[in-house]
C-alpha cells in the first residue's frame, strides 16, 4: 500500500470519511425512526416519544391482516425460488458446457430482463397477464416475479458450473450414468453452495420486489411490500405507529433472509451480476 502523507491528502481522506459517516448516520437514523415510532405511544413534536408500548404490533397485525399477507408472501416467494432454481440451473448448465450457434443471442436474452427496469416491462406484461386471465392471481404474480429471477440464477450459476472439471462428468458417463443421474448424484452435490447462494439472493430480491407484484397482484395475492405500500399510500387513515409496526415486520422478514444470504455471498453480489459472480467455495 502506498501512503501519501501530505496535508492535502489527509484533508481529502478526512472529507471522504465525513461523507461516508454522514450517509451511514442518516441511513441508520432513518431506520431507527421507524423502529422507535413503532414502539411509541405518542410521538409528536418532541425528540423522543412520550412512552413506549408494543400494542401497535397487535393493531397492525389485525388491521392489515398480516397473517394472511405473510402466508401469501411466503407461498409466492418460495414458489418463485423453486421454479427459478429449476429453470435457471438447467439453463446455466447448458450455457456453461456447450458452445453453440446463437449462444450470444441467448446471453442477451438472459441479460435484458436484468437491465430493463421492472416497471418498463411490467406494464406490458401486466396487460398480457390480465387479458389471459392470470393477472391478479397467485400464478400471475409468480410468473411476473420469475422474469428477473430466472436470468439472475443463470448468470450467477454459469461461472459456478464452468469451474467444475468436465472430466468428473465424463467419468460418471463412462460408468453409465444418464443425464438425470449425473445431475442428481454428481453435479448437484458439487453445485449446492452456488445454488444456495443464488436462491437466497432470489429470495431476498423477491420479498423486496415491489413493482412487478404491485402491477400484477389482486386483493388475495398481495405480498407484504405491496400491502405496506397501500398502507403508506393511505396514511392518515391509520395511526403512523401502526404503519411503522408493519414496516418493522417487513424489515425483519427481509433482513432475516439477508443475514442468512450474507453468510454465503459477498454484499457486492446483491447488486452485481455475472461479472462479480461468487468465488466458488472449495
Amino acid at each position: 500500500m502506498i501512503r501519501d502523507t501530505s496535508v492535502g491528502a489527509k484533508l481529502w481522506i478526512t472529507a471522504i470519511w465525513v461523507v461516508v459517516g454522514f450517509f451511514v448516520l442518516n441511513l441508520l437514523a432513518m431506520i431507527a425512526t421507524v423502529l422507535l415510532s413503532s414502539f411509541s405511544t405518542r410521538w409528536l413534536g418532541t425528540w423522543l416519544p412520550v412512552g413506549l408500548t408494543t400494542k401497535w404490533y397487535g393493531t397492525a397485525w389485525r388491521e392489515f391482516q398480516l397473517a394472511q399477507v405473510l402466508i401469501v408472501t411466503f407461498q409466492i416467494v418460495f414458489t418463485v425460488v423453486v421454479l427459478s432454481g429449476v429453470l435457471g440451473v438447467t439453463a446455466a448448465y447448458a450455457m456453461a458446457r456447450r458452445e453453440f450457434w446463437g449462444k450470444r443471442v441467448l446471453m442477451l436474452l438472459f441479460l435484458l430482463p436484468l437491465l430493463v427496469p421492472p416497471i418498463t416491462y411490467g406494464i406490458p406484461l401486466a396487460t398480457v397477464l390480465y387479458q389471459s386471465g392470470t393477472g391478479g392471481t397467485f400464478w400471475g404474480v409468480v410468473l411476473a416475479n420469475l422474469v428477473p429471477t430466472v436470468p439472475f440464477v443463470i448468470l450467477v450459476m454459469i461461472p459456478f458450473i464452468e469451474q467444475i472439471d468436465p472430466k468428473v462428468e465424463a467419468a460418471a458417463r463412462v460408468f453409465g450414468a444418464g443425464t438425470f443421474r449425473l445431475f442428481i448424484h454428481v453435479l448437484l452435490p458439487m453445485l449446492i453452495p452456488g445454488i444456495l447462494a443464488s436462491l437466497l439472493l432470489v429470495l431476498v430480491r423477491t420479498v423486496a420486489m415491489f413493482e412487478l407484484t404491485f402491477l400484477t397482484a389482486g386483493p388475495s395475492s398481495q405480498t407484504l411490500v405491496v400491502a405496506l405500500y397501500y398502507s403508506v399510500f393511505a396514511s392518515g387513515v391509520r395511526a403512523v405507529q401502526s404503519i411503522d409496526a408493519m414496516a418493522v415486520i417487513y424489515m425483519v422478514t427481509t433482513l432475516v433472509w439477508l443475514l442468512l444470504a450474507l453468510r454465503f455471498v459477498n454484499p457486492t453480489q446483491i447488486v452485481g451480476r455475472a461479472r462479480t459472480a461468487p468465488a466458488p467455495q472449495s
Binding site: M1, I2, D4, W12, I16, W17, V19, V20, V24, N26, L27, A29, M30, T33, V34, L44, G45, L87, T90, A94, R98, W101, L106, F110, L112, L115, V116, P117, I119, T120, I123, P124, L125, T127, V128, V147, V150, I154, T179, V204, A208, E211, F214, V225, L228, Y229, V232, S235, D244, A247, M251, L255, L262, N266, P267, T268, I270, V271, G272, T276
Partner: protein
C-alpha cells in the same frame, strides 16, 4: 432392411451434425428457460409495442401524437430526467473516491453490509422511513434547528427533495457496490509501478486508474441511471405525484390502471424504454472512445 439402415444412418448423421454445432441433449436443457422468457418477457414487449399502435381512437400513431402534444404527458420525460441524471451523477461522483479508500480497508464487510441494507429493504420502506425522518418534526430538521443552521423546519417531503433523497439513499449504495467491484478488480501492482516512477496520487489516478475504470464506470452509470429513471413508489409516496415529481412511470401506471387505456399505457412504456435506450447507447458510445482491455498487471 437396407432402407432401415439407411434411415438410421441419416438420423445419426443429423444428430452428429447438430452435435458438432453444439446442439445435443445438454444444450436442450436451456430450452425451458428460453421458452419461458420468450413467453413472459419478449412476447409481452412485442405485444405492448403492437398494442401501442392500436389506440382506442385515432390513427396508427395517435397515442404517440397525444403523448407529445400534451404537456402534462411529455413533461414527465423532463421531470424524470431532472431527477435521475443528477442522482446518478452525484452517486458516481461520491462512489468513486469512497471506493478508492474502501479498497484499501482490510475489513470492508461491515461497511458493505450497512450499505446493502437500503438496496435490500427497497424503495417503499425507505419512503416510509424518510417520511418520518425528513418530515417537519423529524430528527433531520430538528438537528439542523438545534445547531441554528436553519430557522424553520425544512420542507423535504412531498416535493422534489424527498424523492431526490430517497433515490440517493437507495441509489448511492447500489452505485458504490458496483464501483467497488470494478475498483478492486484493478491490479494494485499497476499503481505501485506508477508510484515507483514518481507519479503522485493525482497522476496515478488520472493516468493509471481512470483509463482502466472508464468502461466499468460507464456500465455502473447506465445501471444506476436506469434504476433511478424507473423511480415509482417513492415518487408517489414521498413526492408530489400530481406536480413536480410526476415521473413517466406514474403517467404509464395511471394510463393503465386508472384510465384502463392499455394501448396508451403501452405507448408510454415504449417511450420510457426508448429514452432509456438512447441514454444508455450514448453512454456506451462515449465509452468506446476510451481504452478497453485487461485491468490485470504483468508483462504484455
Amino acid at each position: 432392411m437396407s432402407a432401415l439402415v439407411e434411415h438410421d444412418y441419416s438420423r445419426i448423421s443429423l444428430q452428429q451434425r447438430l452435435a458438432r454445432r453444439g446442439f445435443d441433449g445438454v444444450t436442450l436443457l436451456a430450452l425451458p428457460a428460453v421458452v419461458f422468457l420468450l413467453a413472459v418477457f419478449v412476447y409481452p414487449f412485442i405485444y405492448g409495442l403492437a398494442l401501442s399502435f392500436m389506440p382506442k381512437a385515432g390513427g396508427f400513431f395517435a397515442n404517440y401524437q397525444t403523448f407529445f402534444s400534451d404537456p402534462y404527458l411529455y413533461n414527465t420525460i423532463a421531470t424524470t430526467l431532472w431527477l435521475a441524471l443528477p442522482v446518478t451523477l452525484i452517486s458516481i461522483a461520491m462512489a468513486l473516491p469512497i471506493a478508492f479508500r474502501v479498497r484499501l480497508m482490510r475489513r470492508q464487510r461491515l461497511l458493505t453490509t450497512i450499505l446493502v441494507l437500503p438496496v435490500t429493504l427497497g424503495t417503499v420502506l425507505v419512503a416510509q422511513g424518510l417520511l418520518n425522518y425528513l418530515g417537519p418534526q423529524g430528527w433531520f430538521s430538528r438537528t439542523l434547528l438545534l445547531f441554528h443552521i436553519i430557522d424553520a423546519p425544512l420542507k423535504l417531503t412531498n416535493n422534489y427533495w424527498g424523492v431526490f433523497a430517497s433515490l440517493i439513499i437507495t441509489g448511492f449504495p447500489f452505485t458504490f457496490l458496483l464501483t467497488l467491484s470494478y475498483v478492486s478488480g484493478i491490479d494494485p501492482a499497476l499503481e505501485q509501478a506508477a508510484a515507483t516512477h514518481g507519479a503522485n496520487s493525482w497522476q496515478r489516478f488520472r493516468f493509471v486508474f481512470w483509463p482502466l475504470l472508464v468502461p466499468g464506470l460507464a456500465i455502473a452509470f447506465c445501471l444506476s441511471f436506469v434504476q433511478a429513471y424507473a423511480v415509482f413508489p417513492s415518487a408517489i409516496l414521498l413526492g408530489a405525484p400530481a406536480g413536480p415529481t410526476r415521473v413517466i412511470s406514474i403517467a404509464a401506471y395511471q394510463a393503465a390502471f386508472e384510465q384502463y387505456d392499455y394501448s396508451m399505457a403501452s405507448a408510454i412504456a415504449m417511450i420510457m424504454a426508448a429514452v432509456q435506450l438512447v441514454i444508455v447507447v450514448a453512454i456506451l458510445g462515449l465509452r468506446n472512445l476510451f481504452y478497453r482491455g485487461s485491468t490485470a498487471g504483468g508483462k504484455g
